[in-house]
Amino acid sequence: MKLDPSILARIQFAFTVSFHIIFPTMSIGLASFLAVIEALWLKTKKPVYLEIYKFWLSIFAMGFGIGVVTGIVLSFEFGLGFARFAQMAGPAIGPLIALEVLTAFFLEAGFLGIMLFGLHRVGPKLHFFATCMVAIGTLLSASWILSANSWMQTPAGVAIHDGHLTVLSWRHVLVNPSWLYRLPHMLTAAYLTASFMVAGVGAWYLLKGKHQHFARRTLALGTAFGTVLIAGQVFIGDILYGTMLKYQPSKMQAAEGFWEKQSQSPAPYYWFIVPDQNNQRNRFQLGIPYLGSIWLTHSLDGRVEGLRNTPRDLQPRMGMVFYAFRIMYGLAMVMFAVGVASLWLRFRGKLFSSRWFLWILVFMTPSGIIATLAGWYVAETGRQPWIIYGILRTVDAISPVPAQALLSTLIAFVCVYAVFITAFLVFAFRIIRRGPGEVPPHAEASGSVKNAFRPYVLDSPERLVNSNITQRS
């Protein structure tokens, strides 16, 4: 059996980056959530907020750790699997990632220790500062790496000579045509992920009748943020769609499932297709009539451009792009519906007592992660066959490493990462089963900056009791 190194390199990178993205998505969202919660605690001094903080801090810590180690893998994997890409793109994206390390990674890492372990070593204000620094670090990190990836999607600011890249304008490399649209889209995705995670766990507790106060607060906060965020997200998403239509038409052509250069009029919105890339047609397709024209051309009879507008050797695989897009978009619609429902239930005073809604929230707990993953699959598989769009093809970008090495390390990654995610899920579920702990009676914010710089230990530092006692409301 002859193994194709370029396919193996792609599968390996796809696997490691898909696994990785789950965790920073959670971390970016949870870090900001934790900052909000800690601010609420400092302001209102209500113990429930400290409970919420400590509960989600432990899950955040695990996820952050996995995110870091799987991220280190990626910074080397550019060279391990795609050395020719690294050699060409290094001058452009290397400095961006270097700045990410300098301004974001070190910031997160530097203050993470205080955030996780310093509750008893530093005053509340300094601790809150640490939480904020970690949250800002995650934000900066996302910004830089999104710029690097956006440059791969819509390259700008460089001159190519003899296979070597020279950067002409950093402004154009950094603020490339798609960055400022993709960044808010990704950040909102992260915040949505955290909102639904937090709301889902809260809903679970309410269904079980446990930790009522904790659960009501987190459900209320999660749905409140989530509703506003999903509205913003679909708005940004539509603008981004228009941008990508302009700069990567082949991606959006593949995403909608049409093959003909001009589709029928009016065009349906496909939800299910069986694409046949070799024959440039769908063997089967199922859609909602008229909706394609309405959503994609903003008219009742517009025609949609199909994938045959792109030369065959430049076409991405329609099946992957189409279904990834549908999963992401479908989940977005469900999120929007959940948001609207949450507003209605608040109005009726039934937010915490509608069991059907609570169950939906429970099922929607991982929705942000799935939608984010799906969106990234649209972005990356839709960019193919290019690794730097219009400049370097993926097949020309790989390392001089034999297929057997790629395959064996791919298997190693799968095995090791399987351990990571199993442990994460086992422990996260255990934390959820045990529920939030009681907060020591003396846990109050002193609120004094002078005290903040004196390391102190809380009076009677009782260990947090992990119990199933329902928090008195």
Binding site: A61, M62, G65, I66, V68, V69, T70, G71, I72, V73, S75, F76, F78, G79, L80, A83, R84, A86, Q87, A89, G90, P91, A92, G94, P95, I97, A98, L99, E100, V101, L102, T103, F105, F106, L107, A109, G110, F111, L112, G113, I114, L116, F117, G118, R121, H164, T166, V167, W170, S399, P400, V401, T409, A412, F413, F420, A423, F424, R463, L464
Partner: protein
């Protein structure tokens, strides 16, 4: 201004900081294998928990600086060390997640400690393998790697792979001596006294072997013999001091000696490799990216590194003193 040279200095700084800082983290991890008492192991891990992430970040800095400033070297070196780097990344992964996972389970804590320790050991071994592979040199054609991924399975890389964990154990022992109270002091002292001679001897064998098999290194000794001999001398003296340390030695001394050991070793290696960044055929200037890329990295580094070092030092200061026996949560 000679940008590639400045970039190389920053790269060397990042690598040195990584080796020193994560060196003692990995060293403590390796020493876990030899510590039977659970409470002591908890203490050992606690001593590095608050600051390990920042320490490890320096290796990303080094790797990314290589990508940005010397993309040709990045694209040669990474495929050349494909296997050890991936194994190192997986090992570092296990070490990293074990920090969080080991505290989640009392009954499985021992298993996670083993994962922690083995991860640290494997990472150190792989780093040593890469070091030896660098000294061995590699096949390059047209600015692309032209050798085999199995080239690291040769005596020189293997010897240095065996040496490095001992070196990290010295650093780890020194750190433990600083941070632990009475119960771990004996353990720390013993670790240092045992590891230092092994490190020195294995490192010495590697150096001698390197001179024999790599003609460039031989000629470097010929031309810079005195400087290199001085470095060797300092290395031997420091190792000797570590091997003969006692309980009466002041707490900070072994750790500082360990740092000194590594700085001396790194200086020697840098002296031998210069002016090549891919030993022994691609110079800094051949591998460098254009000046616009170098400039951005250096300007960013110049502004941000002092800030990073400041708040990193602050984080260390917050967690100064002896590691509390009951852990950070109490």
């Amino acid at each position: 201004m000679d940008l590639p040279l400045v970039s190389a200095c920053f790269l060397a700084l990042a690598l040195t900081l990584y080796v020193i800082l994560d060196g003692f983290d990995l060293g403590v991890g390796i020493l876990l294998l030899f510590q039977p008492a659970t409470a002591s192991r908890d203490q050992m891990v606690d001593s590095i928990t608050p600051t390990w992430d920042g320490n490890e970040t320096w290796i990303i800095m080094a790797g990314v600086t290589l990508l940005a400033a010397f993309p040709v070297a990045y694209s040669i070196l990474l495929p050349a060390f494909y296997l050890p780097i991936i194994l190192m990344l997986l090992a570092l992964g296990f070490r990293g997640v074990s920090f969080e996972f080991r505290v989640q389970s009392k009954q499985h804590r021992r298993k996670w400690d083993v994962a922690f320790a083995v991860g640290s050991l494997v990472a150190a071994f792989m780093q040593g393998l890469v070091l030896g592979g660098l000294m061995q040199g590699m096949k390059v054609q047209n600015q692309h790697f032209a050798g085999s991924v199995l080239d690291v399975v040769h005596p020189l890389p293997i010897i240095s792979a065996l040496a490095l964990p001992f070196g990290y154990a010295v650093l780890g022992g020194g750190w433990l001596k600083l941070k632990s109270n009475l119960s771990l002091q004996t353990f720390a002292n013993r670790s240092i006294r045992v590891s230092a001679p092994f490190f020195a001897i294995l490192f010495g064998i590697a150096c001698i072997y390197a001179v024999k098999i790599q003609p460039t290194i031989h000629s470097k000794w010929a031309s810079h013999g005195i400087t290199l001999a001085c470095l060797v001398g300092l290395f031997v003296i420091a190792s000797g001091m570590l091997t003969t340390m006692t309980e009466k030695t002041r707490p900070a001394v072994p750790f500082l000696l360990g740092l000194f050991l590594f700085v001396v070793g790194i200086s020697g290696i840098a002296l031998i490799a210069f002016p090549d960044i891919v030993p022994f055929g691609v110079t800094l200037w051949e591998a460098a990216s254009s000046s616009t890329s170098q400039t951005l990295v250096l300007v960013g580094a110049a502004f941000v590194t002092p800030i990073v070092l400041t708040y990193s030092a602050f984080a260390y200061w917050i967690f100064r003193g002896k590691t509390p026996e009951q852990g950070w949560e109490a």
